[in-house]
């Protein structure tokens, strides 16, 4: 039910990689530079139709999360960036996810050019590996140790002080 007043779009439809459709209002969509660019292009052409933006890299699970983030940030779009409530929300938002979801979310933020979400994810990841041993980092990210024992020993010897 898109209300098409003049040549300005108010909503877009975003399609996830698993073919689910999401109706997103323009202000929310504009949090993603990728979606914003699509909207701007269409508006330049003077289209009044509701546009469909397919995102081949983002599943509906992850898209839901990105849109949740965009929605919240759209609400605060006119505030300054230092809003404490928003900061608190950001922090709680990422805490809910496991590292596999966090990975997909980070990739989606990168792909959809949602810079503040990407920064938030990277900061969260960096904070969570602070002070961990190499083995602990591998564990939380589920990464296999693909060094040979000799390589591993060399790495540790090179900067022995940084390993415990």
């Amino acid at each position: 039910m898109a209300s098409s007043s003049s040549s300005s779009l108010s909503r877009v439809v975003v399609k996830s990689s698993d073919n689910n459709l999401f109706v997103v209002n323009k202000k929310v969509a504009s949090q993603s530079q990728l979606l914003k660019q699509c909207i701007d292009n269409m508006e330049e052409k003077g289209t009044n139709d509701v546009i469909l933006i397919p995102l081949s890299n983002v599943t509906s699970n992850i898209l839901t999360l990105v849109l949740e983030y965009c929605e919240k940030h759209a609400d605060f779009a006119d505030d300054d960036n230092n809003n404490q409530e928003l900061k608190q929300w950001d922090h709680e938002f990422l805490k809910k996810f496991d590292y596999a979801t966090l990975n997909s979310l980070t990739m989606a933020a990168d792909y959809m050019v949602t810079k503040s979400l990407l920064n938030l994810c990277c900061q969260f990841i960096a904070d969570s590996i602070k002070d961990l041993t190499v083995q602990q980092i591998r564990q939380i990210f589920d990464i296999k140790n693909d060094f040979t024992p000799q390589e591993e020993a060399d790495i540790k010897n090179e900067n022995a002080w940084a390993f415990r």
Partner: protein, 416 residues
């Protein structure tokens, strides 16, 4: 057309995201461990981080073990012990490095920006980074403004020095020059920094005759030391302020000089005279806390050592003052009772202030000090709130350290 849900693989995250995560790591050891997780990450991330790290928590470089010094001094052994030990105050661990560059008869004068500043029984003086092994020469000691002549052939009186306070000349031998002439050196930035702005070194020299001091500076990689055009300013400490691009020095009265050095080697001097009638304390240090210039005074107390019958000077307290400009070129040092979250490191190294909350285990509102006055292992932590000195865990009181060689020195590890 349901797609298969693929489990994401962290080791395959795009390079730019990995860089972004790495750039968010302020602690160098976290970066090193991140590079050690898997082959892909190790190849992607360069061994020297691309981003500029904030100042790291300093390690304490311990003196060479007394046995190796004794052996070397008596020329008994031909095997040079090149190992030096660094103490990490957070982990309470010792890290050992092979540092051929700093072994006897070389001497470590101090540290600045992660570089040890080393002299030897020749006119050479250089900066050495124990992590990167990078070695950068400063102009030779023979080019110091007070040195009139230097000849290796004048054995035992190699340097001829002019004491500018009384215009008399005297001689120094190689050892005296190595150990006594330079009191402190501070660098403006990491000397390996081959960016657009050159790195400067600023030093206090002391006359052997009258103990009067002079200020000198040089541009790293240039040929000469240059005299700072200031007279009658017996400096006790110097510090560099990055944001203002100024060196600051303080004298025994609490007067402050600021020194702006331009790329042509011209030094612009401004002096602030203190309006405090007296600032108690035996030694003075400058430190920048949140970009504010602060003065630290150190109070010593003499006590007799019953074993060696020596008089030992022990630190009993510190006081802190904030620089307040008042009137034209005058300073009021305003007493500060509490450093809040800050922790300060002083000694022969460039003084350093950090936030304790960035380094869990580090004690806030404290001054970590080493011995830079009387070689009697006067080392510890002064708690401003409790007004007491605590020992560092690595320095049990009965440790048999050599009393006449190098003191422990703070050095902030720097990968650049």
């Amino acid at each position: 057309m349901a797609e298969e849900e693929i489990q994401p693989d962290w080791s395959e995250i795009p390079d730019d995201i990995l860089f972004k995560i790495a750039q968010t790591l302020p602690i160098y050891s976290d970066y090193i461990r991140l590079r050690a997780v898997c082959l892909k990450w190790r190849i992607t991330l360069p061994s020297t981080p691309l981003h500029t790290l904030p100042c790291q928590l300093p390690w304490l470089l311990l003196p060479p073990s007394s046995t190796s010094i004794k052996a070397l001094c008596n020329n008994i052994t031909t095997i040079t012990n090149t190992r030096r030990t660094f103490y990490n105050i957070l982990t309470n661990k010792l890290h050992t490095f092979h540092l051929l560059e700093s072994t006897y008869p070389r001497r470590i004068l101090g540290s600045s920006h992660g570089y040890l500043i080393i002299t030897s029984e020749t006119p050479e003086i250089f900066c050495f980074n124990p992590l990167t092994k990078s070695k950068i020469f400063l102009p030779p000691l023979s080019s110091l403004p007070g040195v009139i002549s230097f000849k290796f052939s004048n054995v035992g009186r190699e340097y001829m020095i002019l004491d500018q306070s009384n215009n008399r000349t005297y001689h120094l031998d190689l050892k005296q020059m190595r150990d006594e002439f330079i009191r402190k050196i501070v660098l403006s930035s990491s000397p390996s920094n081959n960016g657009s702005t050159p790195s400067f070194a600023f030093a206090i020299t002391t006359s052997f005759l009258t103990h009067s001091t002079e200020l000198v500076f040089c541009t790293v990689n240039q040929n000469n030391w240059v005299s700072v055009p200031v007279s009658d300013f017996p400096a006790e400490d110097v510090i560099y302020c990055q944001s203002q691009k100024l060196f600051y020095a303080v004298n025994h009265l609490g007067n402050v000089g600021s020194f702006r050095i331009d790329e042509n080697g011209i030094c612009d001097v401004t002096i602030w005279e203190t309006v405090n009638s007296i600032i108690p304390g035996d030694m003075k240090y400058l430190v920048l806390i949140n970009e504010e210039l602060m003065l630290l005074t150190r109070h010593l107390c003499a006590e007799a050592d019953v074993i060696t019958y020596c008089e030992l000077n022990r630190t009993v307290s510190f006081e802190v003052y904030r620089f307040c400009e008042c009137g034209s070129q005058q300073v009021w040092w305003d007493p500060v009772m509490d450093l809040g979250d800050k922790v300060v490191f002083v000694g022969e190294s460039s003084s350093l202030a950090l936030s304790a909350s960035d380094f869990p285990g580090c004690k806030a509102n404290c001054i970590y000090f080493t011995d830079d006055h009387s070689k009697c292992n006067d080392i510890g932590v002064y708690d401003l709130k409790e007004e007491c000195v605590e020992a560092l865990p690595c320095f049990p009181e009965d440790v048999s350290l050599p009393l006449s060689w190098e003191s422990p020195i703070w050095i902030s590890p720097n990968p650049r």
